[in-house]
Symmetry: C2
Subunit: 383 residues, 2 copies
């Protein structure tokens, strides 16, 4: 098979620490399965912005990265030092810009964040049914609230007016909704294969094996809310086997806490998806275990980007205590995704996922360093 | 004292049922305390929109309501019948419009939603510290994401572009943030009075008795995020006794589930506040117990509006099973608010709050009808 090339961007904060463990696992898997896989490291920490000889993400970063088949990112956002009045010198709009630049530049229009409460993960909800949580939140990742249009009129005066425009296109709406329905079907098929089934009710009383819940705030944000609703109704006709549901974002957040086991696939806008996926991360045990990916499923020339949901957590960086679980689940997802190019990668991804899940089930609660967790998982990959 | 006049708008769905219990309690309190209080009923259910002789909120509703000192609202939003393809005839942008019209028309620029997990309320979180949840979420209620500006270009075509503008003014930002700091001080003073204290850390290591947490999404929605941040920094200088904190909305939602007991006062924009207050409602036991109010603290000619956080729940309407607890806590808050005009009302409000809380503590879990709960609380008001 042709060699698959990965750009590894550890970033800053705990990023490099958790990425080291991911790379050890990749080495193991490559050796064991003879994978045609290679990778190149791009340090680019945010805080290097301050340093004369350090280099945060350079101007031509996207051009450099585009040559790769995927990007494996640790975390970004360490603002570096503070000034005398304890304000960070580096605003987070700069330290985090590369994330948004990659999503936009490579048109990674899908952000996928699954939430399952795997054995061993911390359960925040009192209800025992939390064990049945198994949802996939699909966030529109290319437009909406994140278009960065707007400005500040009479900036800094008491008459200031700040505006922020939300822009939604029917094209991007259709593609993300259709992607949601396709994932719902795939998930149902996968469940059948594994002998697990779920059932969801349609409005007209039929029973389906999967569901898509559309989230909007159409009662207050009417323009795109109505467009989303119309697109959802139209596309749902193509998927009569998938039950549909609509929630307002406030109610959806509430139900994520009250009855999250009732959701299957959830489709939401960029900002509402951002909020829902942080909640979904908690439902699956917290940031330490939550994977994430930014996909461009349509253009094979554009690399997709795989990053854990967590940030760079500068407060615990450098201590070797960050949990690499989320990073390793993310790496497994990357391999699975690359499996469309080479099935051996998909198999390796599955092996990695199983090893991480087994480690979580057996070892959680046991305080271990980042490196110890990585080692335990590497050992499982040998076994 | 001059007579205080309340406009009672039961609305639709479970609104009229829970409002009936509120009115019974008001009657009791008026008789017992000789309150100079009277009220007028305005039915105006949303679904009357369909009916030839029914009347949903009329054109001149705001003019009628403005004559009152406060508005006590049950719930709105029952869409009425569906059409043949199971679509509601009445879009929620219409059924709910009166809510938004009142908030805007009377410049009710503060929405206050407290979250305390009172004894007897359902605890959704596994952690025992949930018992210590005691926060007040203050939502900017006059602008921001809710200005209804925008539109749909090439509507209904595959080239459609839907826009929604967010508009924030420094004036409204300053007033809501200052209100937040004032509430933090008042809450700290109240706690001291009750012999409960809490302590919060400032960035420079001092300890304070109260805290304000500002929520934004300034790393992605920069324009108003930066303006909010600057306003917050400036106003915090006037309140050196209050600790300050900043959270991004996604992280804030996560922490509402992971460690909600760490929050005191939370200030957020209209939409982000909408989301956070639904989560806060869950933290305090669910929609059945969550009060809410929409205040205009600056213009005494404009009535404030008091409504539970819950909606009209048409699915359980008419069965007499809705929990009136949220409505009664809301009524208590209204009396407390009107106490600035007549201290006897504040005393009555406190008595009502205590009676509802006592009922919750003793009777919860015991399945009772709406009317039974109302009767039990009325009895306590006699006791
Ligand atoms: C860092 C930030 C800009 C980003 C986002 O809002 O998308 C993050 O919260 C995420 O969810 O990946
Ligand atoms: C009904 C709806 C328009 C309203 C809002 O979004 O403000 C509701 O969710 C609320 O929180 O009062």
């Amino acid at each position: 098979a042709e060699t698959i090339r990965i750009a590894v961007t550890p970033g800053d904060g705990i990023g490099p620490e958790v990425v080291s463990e991911a790379v050890r696992c990749l080495e193991k898997l490559r050796a064991r399965h003879g994978l045609a896989l290679e990778w190149t490291r791009f340090p680019w920490p945010s805080h290097a912005w301050h340093e004369e000889h350090g280099e945060s993400m350079p101007e031509d970063a996207l051009t450099q990265l585009q040559a790769y088949d995927a990007i494996l990112l640790g975390a970004l956002g360490d603002p570096g030092p503070m000034d005398d009045s304890e304000r960070y010198l580096l605003p987070d709009s700069i330290s985090l810009a590369p994330l948004l630049d990659m999503r936009k530049g490579f048109d990674q229009w899908v952000c996928e964040r699954p939430a399952r409460l795997l054995p061993g993960a911390r359960q925040y909800l009192a209800d025992e049914r939390a064990k049945d949580i198994d949802m996939l939140v699909i966030r529109e990742n290319s437009e909406g609230e994140y278009v960065s249009q707007g400005g500040r009129l009479r900036k800094g005066t008491e008459d200031e007016v700040a505006t922020q425009m939300e822009v939604f296109t029917r094209k991007a709406t259709d593609r993300i909704i259709r992607y949601g329905f396709e994932q719902a079907r795939l998930r149902a098929a996968q469940r059948v294969k594994e002998g697990r089934t779920r059932s969801f009710r349609t409005l007209d009383g039929r029973t389906c094996e999967s569901q898509v819940c559309l989230v909007t705030k159409r009662n207050a944000l009417r323009y795109w809310g109505d467009m989303y609703t119309e697109a959802f109704e139209a596309i749902s006709q193509e998927f009569p086997d998938v039950a549909v549901h609509h929630e307002l974002v406030d109610a959806a957040c509430m139900k994520f806490v009250q009855s999250p086991w009732a959701f299957d696939v959830v489709v939401a806008s960029n900002l509402q998806g951002d909020i829902l996926t942080d909640l979904a991360a908690v439902l699956s045990g917290g940031m330490g275990v939550a994977p994430s990916c930014n996909l461009n499923p349509t253009n094979p020339d554009m690399p997709s980007m795989f990053e854990p949901t967590h940030g760079s957590a500068p407060d615990i960086a450098g201590q070797g205590v960050a949990d690499p679980t989320a990073m390793l689940f993310t790496t497994a997802r990357m391999l699975e995704w690359l499996g469309r190019r080479d099935p051996a990668l998909a198999a390796a991804g599955k092996q990695l996922f199983d090893a991480v899940a087994a480690d979580l089930a057996e070892q959680s609660g046991n305080p271990r360093s980042t490196h110890e967790i990585g080692s335990a998982i590497c050992q499982r990959l040998d076994g």
